[in-house]
């Protein structure tokens, strides 16, 4: 059956969400946007001209769509705090947790000393450019797997700064995975500083590290679809198996950029495995789901969109998500979510307020917004 879509509201109404404080768990800053052009045979020439950019974004669809505007003319993505604030205002976002773009790939840098230098530079940069004034922005400072001690020192350096909400642990290119005890200094420092740990899924990258051996996949559709959720599943499995939430019971661990349905699958599967092989994980005195409900939080983007949004509400309830699911847009990426889509999931007004911002304020220990804008 065909449904005819008849709008009843105009452009202004559709883009506003003014009655609920919105905390956005995933906003990206752009260090640089390389502009690559070439030409090729039909039909790919038309695809190139009218649809997809060329690498380095893995043949992605427009990596950075014009937001909130039209296709042409291409409007530059915000590269300073004032422009970013303007764009987020258009999205009805009050508070935003800021992440890197290219620097999120730093875990793949083989030169440890160079990786440390970039990590430190990025952290100085984001503090100076985005976090000195009160704009509703919270970092997102970087850690790297190559040097856990240097990463822990970064946490100590910025601990207590009111605009630092968490330490970013990129989830792609990491070997061994984040549950390995070599990373304990990072977790100990984050727990002492009382800041959240932010696991951010990586892109459609061909890497030798689990789970990014994507050579068998030859399109964005297959690579991107498989990589984000599986990288967070691998991270989750690793830290649960290693008992990170048991050994650091005050840590809040946040999983970003793979939607939320995977959490239901992992919760059930990890509990099942725990029943069968408790001797492998005797330190887990409770089933994995207990830690996943208590200490872990899940960012919505890209929110799954079943034909009936009530189905996704069911998934959120299954994982205890009324208290642990956090809205995220992934601005300015091509697959960003508008907050209204998540707000439309059928929950009570109270639960909607928690998912759109209340849970994030608790997970990140941020002050409550002052009024709607909170800035």
């Amino acid at each position: 059956m065909t449904t005819t879509w008849i709008p009843t509201t105009g452009i202004t109404a559709r883009q506003r969400l003014d009655d609920v404080p919105v905390v956005d768990l995933d906003v990206h800053l752009l260090e640089d946007i390389p502009d690559i052009a070439t030409y090729c045979d039909a039909p790919w020439r038309d695809v190139l001209l009218s649809r997809q950019s060329v690498p380095p974004y893995g043949g992605n669809v427009r990596m950075f769509p014009n937001f909130p505007g039209a296709w042409e003319p291409r409007r530059p993505v915000a590269t300073n705090a004032a422009d970013l604030r303007t764009d987020l205002d258009a999205l009805s976002v009050d508070y935003a947790v800021l992440f890197a773009e290219a620097t999120l790939g730093l875990a793949r840098q083989p030169n440890r000393a160079y990786a440390v230098a970039i990590m430190q530079a990025y952290n100085r940069w984001i503090m100076d450019r985005y976090l000195t004034r009160q704009r509703g922005f919270y970092g997102g400072i970087m850690a790297i797997p190559q040097d856990p001690d240097a990463s822990a020192r970064e946490i100590e350096t910025y601990a207590g700064h009111p605009n630092v909400a968490g330490i970013v642990l990129p989830a792609s290119g990491v070997d061994p995975l984040w549950g390995n005890t070599k990373y304990d200094p990072i977790y100990a420092a984050a727990e002492a500083a009382d800041i959240a740990v932010l696991y951010h899924a990586g892109g459609s990258l061909l890497l030798p590290t689990l789970p990014f051996q994507l050579r068998q996949f030859d399109t964005w559709f297959t690579q991107h679809t498989y990589s984000h959720n599986v990288s967070l599943m691998a991270t989750m499995t690793s830290i649960i198996g290693a008992g990170v939430p048991v050994r650091f019971p005050k840590l809040r661990l946040i999983f970003i950029e793979a939607g939320i349905s995977w959490v239901a699958h992992m919760m059930l599967r990890l509990d099942w495995a725990w029943e069968h092989r408790r001797e492998d994980v005797p330190h887990l005195v409770e089933p994995p789901s207990a830690y996943m409900r208590r200490q872990m939080f899940y960012a919505t983007q890209p929110i799954e969109e079943p034909e009936s949004l009530a189905d996704i509400a069911t998934v959120i309830r299954m994982i205890g998500g009324e208290d642990t699911v956090l809205f995220a847009s992934d601005y300015p990426h091509h697959d960003f979510d508008h907050p209204k889509k998540v707000h439309d999931i059928p929950f009570s007004p109270d639960v909607k307020r928690k998912i759109m911002g209340g849970n994030a304020l608790r997970a990140l220990k941020l002050p409550a917004p002052i009024g709607k804008a909170g800035r």
Partner: protein, 119 residues
């Protein structure tokens, strides 16, 4: 009864051109596709993106008919939402990805050189 609203002079809306107007609080995109006018809402059903501000081009298809080889077709009559890339055929309002979704289409006429949309 439908009311006619002026959109543009026909010389301002040549083939390949489009214009977005606001009527009674609702935005409507009017497109000239190869000499024929088509009007649809400027609102994507998916996440309410500004659909009519999207690029107009064609679409890549592969079917038994093309021997499963990709073929670029319907050039000039497909608009793509600038937010999440859903494609719609301007001449029918049909969503390319979802057969179940079809956009409302508004009648368009030309009177004394003035393109008018009827709502």
């Amino acid at each position: 009864m439908a009311t006619a609203f002026a959109v543009a002079h026909e010389t301002e809306l040549l083939p390949g051109k489009s214009r977005i107007i606001t009527v009674r609080g609702v935005e409507i995109g009017v497109f000239n596709v190869g000499g024929e006018y088509h009007a649809i809402p400027n609102l994507c059903f998916h996440q309410w993106g500004p659909l009519c501000a999207g690029k107009v081009s064609g679409t890549l298809a592969a079917s038994e008919e093309t021997g499963w080889r990709p073929r670029w077709e319907r050039e000039g009559q497909i608009v793509i939402c600038p937010w999440h890339s859903l494609e719609f055929d301007l001449t029918t309002g049909q969503c390319v990805a979802y057969p179940r979704v079809k956009l409302r289409r508004y009648p368009v006429s030309v009177e004394n050189g003035i393109v008018k949309v009827h709502i």
